[in-house]
Symmetry: C2
Subunit: 191 residues, 2 copies
DNA sequence: GTCTATATTGTGATAGAC
DNA sequence: GTCTATCACAATATAGAC
Protein backbone atom coordinates (compact mmCIF):
# COMPACT_ATOMS: atom_id res chain seq x y z
CA UNK A 1 0.00 0.00 0.00
CA UNK A 2 3.00 2.27 -0.48
CA UNK A 3 3.94 3.58 -3.87
CA UNK A 4 7.49 4.29 -5.14
CA UNK A 5 7.39 7.83 -3.75
CA UNK A 6 7.11 6.39 -0.28
CA UNK A 7 3.61 7.66 0.42
CA UNK A 8 0.43 5.68 0.92
CA UNK A 9 -1.46 5.85 -2.35
CA UNK A 10 -4.60 7.25 -0.80
CA UNK A 11 -2.69 10.07 0.86
CA UNK A 12 -0.96 10.90 -2.44
CA UNK A 13 -4.27 11.10 -4.23
CA UNK A 14 -5.79 13.25 -1.51
CA UNK A 15 -2.80 15.57 -1.70
CA UNK A 16 -3.26 16.01 -5.45
CA UNK A 17 -6.93 16.64 -4.93
CA UNK A 18 -6.09 19.32 -2.40
CA UNK A 19 -3.57 20.96 -4.72
CA UNK A 20 -6.23 21.09 -7.42
CA UNK A 21 -8.62 22.77 -5.01
CA UNK A 22 -6.02 25.32 -3.94
CA UNK A 23 -5.10 26.17 -7.52
CA UNK A 24 -8.75 26.36 -8.51
CA UNK A 25 -9.62 28.71 -5.65
CA UNK A 26 -6.82 31.02 -6.64
CA UNK A 27 -7.77 30.95 -10.32
CA UNK A 28 -11.48 31.48 -9.59
CA UNK A 29 -10.64 34.42 -7.33
CA UNK A 30 -8.51 36.00 -10.04
CA UNK A 31 -10.55 35.30 -13.17
CA UNK A 32 -13.97 34.30 -11.95
CA UNK A 33 -15.57 30.88 -12.35
CA UNK A 34 -16.76 31.22 -15.95
CA UNK A 35 -13.54 32.99 -16.87
CA UNK A 36 -11.42 30.11 -15.63
CA UNK A 37 -10.86 27.10 -17.90
CA UNK A 38 -9.94 23.70 -16.60
CA UNK A 39 -6.66 24.15 -18.45
CA UNK A 40 -5.99 27.20 -16.28
CA UNK A 41 -6.25 24.88 -13.30
CA UNK A 42 -4.36 21.89 -14.66
CA UNK A 43 -1.36 23.65 -16.25
CA UNK A 44 0.15 25.26 -13.13
CA UNK A 45 -0.01 21.82 -11.51
CA UNK A 46 1.86 20.21 -14.38
CA UNK A 47 -0.95 17.78 -15.12
CA UNK A 48 -3.36 17.43 -18.02
CA UNK A 49 -7.07 18.13 -17.91
CA UNK A 50 -7.70 14.42 -18.27
CA UNK A 51 -5.81 13.76 -15.06
CA UNK A 52 -7.92 16.42 -13.39
CA UNK A 53 -11.05 14.52 -14.34
CA UNK A 54 -9.80 11.54 -12.40
CA UNK A 55 -10.15 13.58 -9.21
CA UNK A 56 -13.28 15.56 -10.04
CA UNK A 57 -16.33 14.73 -12.08
CA UNK A 58 -16.67 18.17 -13.61
CA UNK A 59 -15.67 21.79 -13.34
CA UNK A 60 -18.79 22.45 -11.29
CA UNK A 61 -17.77 19.62 -8.97
CA UNK A 62 -14.57 21.50 -8.14
CA UNK A 63 -16.57 24.58 -7.28
CA UNK A 64 -18.95 22.47 -5.20
CA UNK A 65 -16.08 21.10 -3.16
CA UNK A 66 -14.76 24.59 -2.56
CA UNK A 67 -18.14 25.94 -1.51
CA UNK A 68 -19.52 23.07 0.55
CA UNK A 69 -18.11 24.14 3.89
CA UNK A 70 -18.67 27.93 3.50
CA UNK A 71 -22.23 27.36 2.35
CA UNK A 72 -22.98 25.22 5.38
CA UNK A 73 -21.53 27.90 7.65
CA UNK A 74 -23.60 30.56 5.93
CA UNK A 75 -26.75 28.47 6.26
CA UNK A 76 -26.10 28.17 10.01
CA UNK A 77 -25.73 31.94 10.19
CA UNK A 78 -29.05 32.43 8.45
CA UNK A 79 -30.70 29.96 10.77
CA UNK A 80 -29.39 31.78 13.81
CA UNK A 81 -30.63 35.05 12.36
CA UNK A 82 -34.16 33.87 11.57
CA UNK A 83 -34.48 32.19 14.97
CA UNK A 84 -33.50 35.48 16.63
CA UNK A 85 -30.71 33.79 18.55
CA UNK A 86 -28.48 36.82 17.87
CA UNK A 87 -29.10 40.51 18.44
CA UNK A 88 -27.95 43.08 15.88
CA UNK A 89 -24.37 43.53 17.12
CA UNK A 90 -23.89 39.78 17.46
CA UNK A 91 -25.34 39.17 14.02
CA UNK A 92 -23.09 41.75 12.39
CA UNK A 93 -20.11 40.23 14.21
CA UNK A 94 -21.01 36.73 13.02
CA UNK A 95 -21.46 38.05 9.49
CA UNK A 96 -18.07 39.76 9.71
CA UNK A 97 -16.33 36.60 10.90
CA UNK A 98 -17.92 34.62 8.10
CA UNK A 99 -16.71 37.17 5.55
CA UNK A 100 -13.22 37.09 7.04
CA UNK A 101 -13.00 33.30 6.81
CA UNK A 102 -14.46 33.11 3.33
CA UNK A 103 -12.88 36.23 1.88
CA UNK A 104 -11.26 34.53 -1.10
CA UNK A 105 -14.48 32.96 -2.32
CA UNK A 106 -16.84 35.86 -1.66
CA UNK A 107 -16.05 37.81 -4.83
CA UNK A 108 -16.19 34.59 -6.83
CA UNK A 109 -19.70 33.76 -5.72
CA UNK A 110 -20.95 37.32 -5.83
CA UNK A 111 -19.43 37.92 -9.23
CA UNK A 112 -20.59 35.16 -11.48
CA UNK A 113 -24.24 34.77 -12.49
CA UNK A 114 -23.44 31.24 -13.67
CA UNK A 115 -22.88 30.30 -10.06
CA UNK A 116 -26.41 31.29 -9.20
CA UNK A 117 -27.73 28.12 -10.82
CA UNK A 118 -25.27 25.96 -8.89
CA UNK A 119 -26.15 27.72 -5.66
CA UNK A 120 -29.87 27.24 -6.13
CA UNK A 121 -29.34 23.49 -6.00
CA UNK A 122 -27.18 23.59 -2.89
CA UNK A 123 -29.09 26.06 -0.76
CA UNK A 124 -32.46 25.87 0.94
CA UNK A 125 -33.25 29.40 -0.27
CA UNK A 126 -31.98 31.77 -2.93
CA UNK A 127 -29.06 34.04 -2.03
CA UNK A 128 -31.45 37.01 -2.21
CA UNK A 129 -33.80 35.37 0.28
CA UNK A 130 -30.89 34.63 2.59
CA UNK A 131 -29.72 38.24 2.49
CA UNK A 132 -33.30 39.33 3.11
CA UNK A 133 -33.39 37.11 6.20
CA UNK A 134 -30.35 38.84 7.65
CA UNK A 135 -31.77 42.26 6.83
CA UNK A 136 -35.02 41.31 8.52
CA UNK A 137 -33.17 40.18 11.63
CA UNK A 138 -31.26 43.46 11.69
CA UNK A 139 -34.35 45.64 11.34
CA UNK A 140 -36.26 43.88 14.05
CA UNK A 141 -40.02 43.36 14.19
CA UNK A 142 -40.99 46.80 12.87
CA UNK A 143 -39.07 47.27 9.64
CA UNK A 144 -39.62 50.83 8.49
CA UNK A 145 -38.23 51.71 5.08
CA UNK A 146 -35.57 53.86 6.68
CA UNK A 147 -34.48 51.07 9.01
CA UNK A 148 -34.29 48.61 6.14
CA UNK A 149 -32.08 50.98 4.19
CA UNK A 150 -29.82 51.40 7.21
CA UNK A 151 -29.60 47.62 7.57
CA UNK A 152 -28.44 47.32 3.97
CA UNK A 153 -25.88 50.04 4.61
CA UNK A 154 -24.58 48.34 7.75
CA UNK A 155 -24.32 44.93 6.12
CA UNK A 156 -22.49 46.27 3.09
CA UNK A 157 -20.17 48.26 5.35
CA UNK A 158 -19.22 45.12 7.26
CA UNK A 159 -18.64 43.10 4.11
CA UNK A 160 -16.53 45.55 2.13
CA UNK A 161 -14.61 46.99 5.07
CA UNK A 162 -13.66 43.48 6.16
CA UNK A 163 -12.41 42.57 2.70
CA UNK A 164 -10.53 45.88 2.52
CA UNK A 165 -8.96 45.42 5.96
CA UNK A 166 -7.76 41.95 5.00
CA UNK A 167 -6.31 42.95 1.65
CA UNK A 168 -2.91 43.36 3.29
CA UNK A 169 -3.10 40.82 6.11
CA UNK A 170 -4.04 37.19 6.36
CA UNK A 171 -5.66 37.48 9.75
CA UNK A 172 -8.02 40.28 10.70
CA UNK A 173 -6.57 42.55 13.39
CA UNK A 174 -8.78 42.82 16.47
CA UNK A 175 -8.60 46.62 16.33
CA UNK A 176 -9.81 46.61 12.72
CA UNK A 177 -12.61 44.24 13.58
CA UNK A 178 -13.80 46.51 16.38
CA UNK A 179 -13.57 49.57 14.12
CA UNK A 180 -15.65 47.90 11.40
CA UNK A 181 -18.35 46.77 13.81
CA UNK A 182 -18.57 50.20 15.43
CA UNK A 183 -18.93 51.89 12.04
CA UNK A 184 -21.62 49.43 10.93
CA UNK A 185 -23.56 49.86 14.13
CA UNK A 186 -23.50 53.63 13.76
CA UNK A 187 -24.88 53.23 10.24
CA UNK A 188 -27.57 50.88 11.53
CA UNK A 189 -28.76 52.62 14.65
CA UNK A 190 -28.83 56.29 13.92
CA UNK A 191 -27.25 59.10 15.90
CA UNK B 1 -34.18 58.99 -48.50
CA UNK B 2 -37.30 57.41 -47.08
CA UNK B 3 -37.76 53.66 -47.02
CA UNK B 4 -41.06 51.75 -47.43
CA UNK B 5 -41.75 51.95 -43.69
CA UNK B 6 -41.92 55.72 -43.95
CA UNK B 7 -38.85 56.47 -41.88
CA UNK B 8 -35.57 58.01 -42.93
CA UNK B 9 -33.09 55.17 -43.33
CA UNK B 10 -30.59 56.64 -40.94
CA UNK B 11 -33.18 57.02 -38.20
CA UNK B 12 -34.32 53.44 -38.71
CA UNK B 13 -30.78 52.17 -38.34
CA UNK B 14 -30.18 54.25 -35.25
CA UNK B 15 -33.38 52.92 -33.75
CA UNK B 16 -32.27 49.33 -34.32
CA UNK B 17 -28.89 50.13 -32.82
CA UNK B 18 -30.62 51.53 -29.76
CA UNK B 19 -32.86 48.48 -29.42
CA UNK B 20 -29.76 46.29 -29.52
CA UNK B 21 -28.16 48.34 -26.75
CA UNK B 22 -31.29 48.17 -24.60
CA UNK B 23 -31.60 44.41 -25.02
CA UNK B 24 -27.88 43.93 -24.37
CA UNK B 25 -27.97 46.01 -21.18
CA UNK B 26 -30.85 43.93 -19.89
CA UNK B 27 -29.16 40.64 -20.79
CA UNK B 28 -25.81 41.69 -19.34
CA UNK B 29 -27.50 42.74 -16.10
CA UNK B 30 -29.27 39.41 -15.86
CA UNK B 31 -26.57 36.97 -17.00
CA UNK B 32 -23.35 38.92 -16.87
CA UNK B 33 -21.21 39.87 -19.87
CA UNK B 34 -19.39 36.57 -20.33
CA UNK B 35 -22.59 34.68 -19.61
CA UNK B 36 -24.47 36.46 -22.38
CA UNK B 37 -24.11 35.23 -25.97
CA UNK B 38 -24.78 37.43 -28.96
CA UNK B 39 -27.63 35.06 -29.76
CA UNK B 40 -29.15 36.02 -26.42
CA UNK B 41 -29.16 39.59 -27.65
CA UNK B 42 -30.27 38.99 -31.23
CA UNK B 43 -33.10 36.52 -30.67
CA UNK B 44 -35.43 38.71 -28.56
CA UNK B 45 -35.08 41.35 -31.28
CA UNK B 46 -36.09 38.92 -33.99
CA UNK B 47 -32.86 39.38 -35.91
CA UNK B 48 -29.89 37.11 -36.57
CA UNK B 49 -26.44 37.54 -35.12
CA UNK B 50 -25.19 38.46 -38.59
CA UNK B 51 -27.54 41.42 -38.66
CA UNK B 52 -26.24 42.44 -35.27
CA UNK B 53 -22.73 42.58 -36.68
CA UNK B 54 -23.89 45.17 -39.18
CA UNK B 55 -24.47 47.57 -36.28
CA UNK B 56 -21.59 46.60 -34.01
CA UNK B 57 -18.09 45.38 -34.75
CA UNK B 58 -17.98 42.89 -31.89
CA UNK B 59 -19.55 41.86 -28.62
CA UNK B 60 -17.02 44.01 -26.80
CA UNK B 61 -18.05 46.94 -28.97
CA UNK B 62 -21.60 46.67 -27.63
CA UNK B 63 -20.30 46.78 -24.08
CA UNK B 64 -18.08 49.73 -24.97
CA UNK B 65 -21.07 51.68 -26.27
CA UNK B 66 -22.99 50.93 -23.09
CA UNK B 67 -20.12 51.96 -20.81
CA UNK B 68 -18.78 55.02 -22.63
CA UNK B 69 -20.97 57.58 -20.94
CA UNK B 70 -20.92 56.09 -17.40
CA UNK B 71 -17.15 55.71 -17.53
CA UNK B 72 -16.72 59.34 -18.50
CA UNK B 73 -18.97 60.40 -15.64
CA UNK B 74 -17.02 58.25 -13.21
CA UNK B 75 -13.73 59.68 -14.44
CA UNK B 76 -15.07 63.19 -13.79
CA UNK B 77 -16.03 62.11 -10.27
CA UNK B 78 -12.52 60.81 -9.62
CA UNK B 79 -11.04 64.01 -10.96
CA UNK B 80 -13.20 66.09 -8.63
CA UNK B 81 -12.16 63.87 -5.74
CA UNK B 82 -8.42 64.02 -6.37
CA UNK B 83 -8.56 67.79 -6.91
CA UNK B 84 -10.33 68.15 -3.55
CA UNK B 85 -13.16 70.08 -5.14
CA UNK B 86 -15.63 68.16 -2.95
CA UNK B 87 -15.68 67.61 0.80
CA UNK B 88 -16.65 64.23 2.22
CA UNK B 89 -20.44 64.73 2.29
CA UNK B 90 -20.42 66.15 -1.23
CA UNK B 91 -18.24 63.33 -2.49
CA UNK B 92 -20.47 60.65 -0.99
CA UNK B 93 -23.49 62.42 -2.49
CA UNK B 94 -21.86 62.54 -5.92
CA UNK B 95 -20.93 58.88 -5.61
CA UNK B 96 -24.49 58.06 -4.64
CA UNK B 97 -25.95 59.92 -7.60
CA UNK B 98 -23.56 58.15 -9.94
CA UNK B 99 -24.60 54.77 -8.53
CA UNK B 100 -28.26 55.69 -8.88
CA UNK B 101 -27.88 56.66 -12.53
CA UNK B 102 -25.73 53.67 -13.44
CA UNK B 103 -27.43 51.07 -11.25
CA UNK B 104 -28.16 48.60 -14.05
CA UNK B 105 -24.57 48.43 -15.21
CA UNK B 106 -22.83 48.47 -11.82
CA UNK B 107 -23.26 44.75 -11.09
CA UNK B 108 -22.25 43.92 -14.66
CA UNK B 109 -18.94 45.75 -14.41
CA UNK B 110 -18.24 44.70 -10.85
CA UNK B 111 -19.12 41.11 -11.57
CA UNK B 112 -17.14 40.06 -14.58
CA UNK B 113 -13.34 39.78 -14.50
CA UNK B 114 -13.37 39.66 -18.30
CA UNK B 115 -14.51 43.28 -18.25
CA UNK B 116 -11.37 44.27 -16.37
CA UNK B 117 -9.31 43.97 -19.53
CA UNK B 118 -11.76 46.11 -21.48
CA UNK B 119 -11.82 48.69 -18.70
CA UNK B 120 -8.06 48.94 -18.55
CA UNK B 121 -8.03 50.18 -22.13
CA UNK B 122 -10.74 52.75 -21.58
CA UNK B 123 -9.71 54.23 -18.25
CA UNK B 124 -6.74 56.37 -17.26
CA UNK B 125 -6.26 54.22 -14.14
CA UNK B 126 -7.31 50.80 -12.95
CA UNK B 127 -10.64 50.49 -11.14
CA UNK B 128 -8.73 49.72 -7.93
CA UNK B 129 -6.73 52.91 -8.27
CA UNK B 130 -9.89 54.89 -8.88
CA UNK B 131 -11.54 53.48 -5.77
CA UNK B 132 -8.36 54.24 -3.85
CA UNK B 133 -8.56 57.84 -5.03
CA UNK B 134 -12.06 58.21 -3.61
CA UNK B 135 -11.01 56.57 -0.36
CA UNK B 136 -8.05 58.94 -0.09
CA UNK B 137 -10.31 61.93 -0.65
CA UNK B 138 -12.66 60.66 2.07
CA UNK B 139 -9.93 60.10 4.63
CA UNK B 140 -8.34 63.49 4.14
CA UNK B 141 -4.66 64.35 4.47
CA UNK B 142 -3.96 62.15 7.51
CA UNK B 143 -5.23 58.68 6.61
CA UNK B 144 -5.00 56.56 9.73
CA UNK B 145 -5.78 52.89 9.30
CA UNK B 146 -9.00 53.32 11.24
CA UNK B 147 -10.11 56.22 9.08
CA UNK B 148 -9.36 54.27 5.91
CA UNK B 149 -11.45 51.38 7.14
CA UNK B 150 -14.32 53.74 7.93
CA UNK B 151 -14.05 55.24 4.45
CA UNK B 152 -14.40 51.79 2.90
CA UNK B 153 -17.40 51.16 5.12
CA UNK B 154 -19.04 54.45 4.15
CA UNK B 155 -18.48 53.96 0.44
CA UNK B 156 -19.83 50.43 0.47
CA UNK B 157 -22.82 51.57 2.51
CA UNK B 158 -23.67 54.22 -0.08
CA UNK B 159 -23.30 51.82 -2.99
CA UNK B 160 -25.30 48.88 -1.68
CA UNK B 161 -27.96 50.89 0.12
CA UNK B 162 -28.59 52.89 -3.05
CA UNK B 163 -28.98 49.75 -5.15
CA UNK B 164 -31.24 48.27 -2.48
CA UNK B 165 -33.39 51.39 -2.25
CA UNK B 166 -33.85 51.42 -6.01
CA UNK B 167 -34.73 47.76 -6.32
CA UNK B 168 -38.41 48.66 -6.15
CA UNK B 169 -38.44 52.14 -7.68
CA UNK B 170 -37.04 53.67 -10.83
CA UNK B 171 -36.19 56.99 -9.25
CA UNK B 172 -34.50 57.32 -5.89
CA UNK B 173 -36.79 58.89 -3.27
CA UNK B 174 -35.29 62.03 -1.70
CA UNK B 175 -36.00 60.68 1.77
CA UNK B 176 -34.10 57.47 0.99
CA UNK B 177 -31.22 59.45 -0.43
CA UNK B 178 -30.95 61.52 2.75
CA UNK B 179 -31.17 58.40 4.90
CA UNK B 180 -28.36 56.69 3.00
CA UNK B 181 -26.07 59.70 3.16
CA UNK B 182 -26.69 60.17 6.88
CA UNK B 183 -25.89 56.51 7.58
CA UNK B 184 -22.71 56.64 5.49
CA UNK B 185 -21.53 59.81 7.21
CA UNK B 186 -22.07 58.24 10.62
CA UNK B 187 -19.96 55.28 9.52
CA UNK B 188 -17.28 57.62 8.23
CA UNK B 189 -17.03 60.18 10.99
CA UNK B 190 -17.32 58.35 14.25
CA UNK B 191 -19.66 59.07 17.13
C1' DG C 1 -30.24 45.96 -43.32
C1' DT C 2 -31.05 41.41 -42.87
C1' DC C 3 -30.56 36.76 -44.35
C1' DT C 4 -28.29 31.70 -44.95
C1' DA C 5 -24.34 29.28 -44.49
C1' DT C 6 -20.00 28.52 -42.75
C1' DA C 7 -15.30 29.27 -40.93
C1' DT C 8 -12.76 29.18 -36.72
C1' DT C 9 -11.67 28.71 -32.22
C1' DG C 10 -12.10 27.40 -27.48
C1' DT C 11 -14.11 24.55 -24.04
C1' DG C 12 -15.78 20.79 -21.12
C1' DA C 13 -15.49 16.14 -21.20
C1' DT C 14 -14.40 11.03 -22.53
C1' DA C 15 -11.85 6.62 -24.29
C1' DG C 16 -8.35 3.81 -23.84
C1' DA C 17 -3.18 3.03 -23.44
C1' DC C 18 0.42 2.87 -20.01
C1' DG D 1 -2.96 8.35 -11.55
C1' DT D 2 -1.57 10.35 -15.52
C1' DC D 3 -1.05 10.39 -20.38
C1' DT D 4 -2.33 11.08 -25.73
C1' DA D 5 -5.88 11.68 -28.67
C1' DT D 6 -10.19 13.05 -29.71
C1' DC D 7 -15.13 14.28 -29.47
C1' DA D 8 -19.17 17.21 -29.27
C1' DC D 9 -20.70 21.43 -28.85
C1' DA D 10 -21.16 26.30 -28.35
C1' DA D 11 -19.56 30.76 -29.33
C1' DT D 12 -17.67 34.74 -31.98
C1' DA D 13 -17.28 36.29 -36.28
C1' DT D 14 -17.29 36.50 -41.57
C1' DA D 15 -18.76 35.85 -46.73
C1' DG D 16 -21.79 36.68 -49.96
C1' DA D 17 -26.73 36.56 -51.63
C1' DC D 18 -30.96 39.28 -51.57
Amino acid sequence: MVDPAGQPRRARSDATRQRILDTAREAFARQGYTGTTITDIARPLGITTAALYYHFASKADILDSLLAEPLAAYARLIEDATAHRLDAPELLAAYLDFMAETRELIPVVAADPAIGAILDERLPRTPQQMTAAIIAALTGPHPSRAKTIRAHAALAAVKEATLAAMSDTDTLRPRDRAEILAAALRALDGP
